[in-house]
């Protein structure tokens, strides 16, 4: 998974002002920079911690659960009322086995209202 250390708010690298300008000469001339083009990079996540995996299949949340071809809308992540997250495909299979509990905390499983 690519990790961007860049600040999210600034896709354009903030060109640092010349370090030669001493604190004595604080003539702050605005840099004359024209942005001709920039290369935007976006990264999506389900809102789960970065690089976290689904406890059931051990695959990344942003990846695919087994049996699902494409990540994203085809393989959504859902939360229980207990705040534990799984791939929808994974928790569905567990619940289909007749258990109605969260695999992590064993609380009765209820889908969180907004998931």
């Amino acid at each position: 998974m690519p990790t961007t250390k860049r600040d999210r708010g600034s896709p354009v690298p903030t060109s640092s002002t010349k370090p030669t300008s001493d604190s004595s000469s604080s003539t702050k001339k605005p840099l004359k920079v024209k942005v001709k083009s920039f290369h935007g990079i976006a990264r999506w996540s389900w809102g789960t911690p970065a690089d976290d995996v689904c406890g059931i299949c051990q695959s990344p949340f942003e990846g695919c659960a087994p049996g699902v071809k494409f990540p994203g809308d085809d393989c959504p992540v859902v939360w229980g009322a207990c705040k534990h997250a799984y791939h929808l495909a994974c928790i569905s299979q567990w619940l289909a086995g007749g258990k109605n509990s969260c695999p992590i905390c064993r609380a009765d499983w209820n889908f969180a209202d907004d998931s």
Partner: protein, 153 residues
Amino acid sequence: MSTSARRRLLRDFRRLQNDPPSGITGAPLDSNIMVWQAVIFGPDETAWEGGTFKLTLEFSEDYPNKAPSVRFLTKMFHPNIYNDGQICLDILQNQWSPIYDISAILTSIQSLLCDPNPSSPANSEASRLFSENRREYNRRVREIVEQSWVDES
């Protein structure tokens, strides 16, 4: 044929190799990733110290939604282990959860060795000795430890 169990087992294997719990080794058979052999070493400074206990784990296509069946191949003497090597451990039965992996299973079994659960006896003699005559119990355990070095199983 479902491959999700196999995919999960590969991840389990990778994790077991990258982050091996102390005193535990395990690997799938060359010919079948659904069957694993594992060795648990008896924890130091206990009667089990020095023992090398072999186990076999069999996974179904329903893994990790169903627990594997786990059995000791080495002869054991323990309140929660039957004579045929089957283990009476809640997480392998009704307390199973699909978040467990092979490391978690083997670590639980390792801690069961020194911390038996007297309320669910599988070996009545071991159970009785454990609660009534700890000295004799420990002696029997050490016999098992010595046997584990020569067992051809």
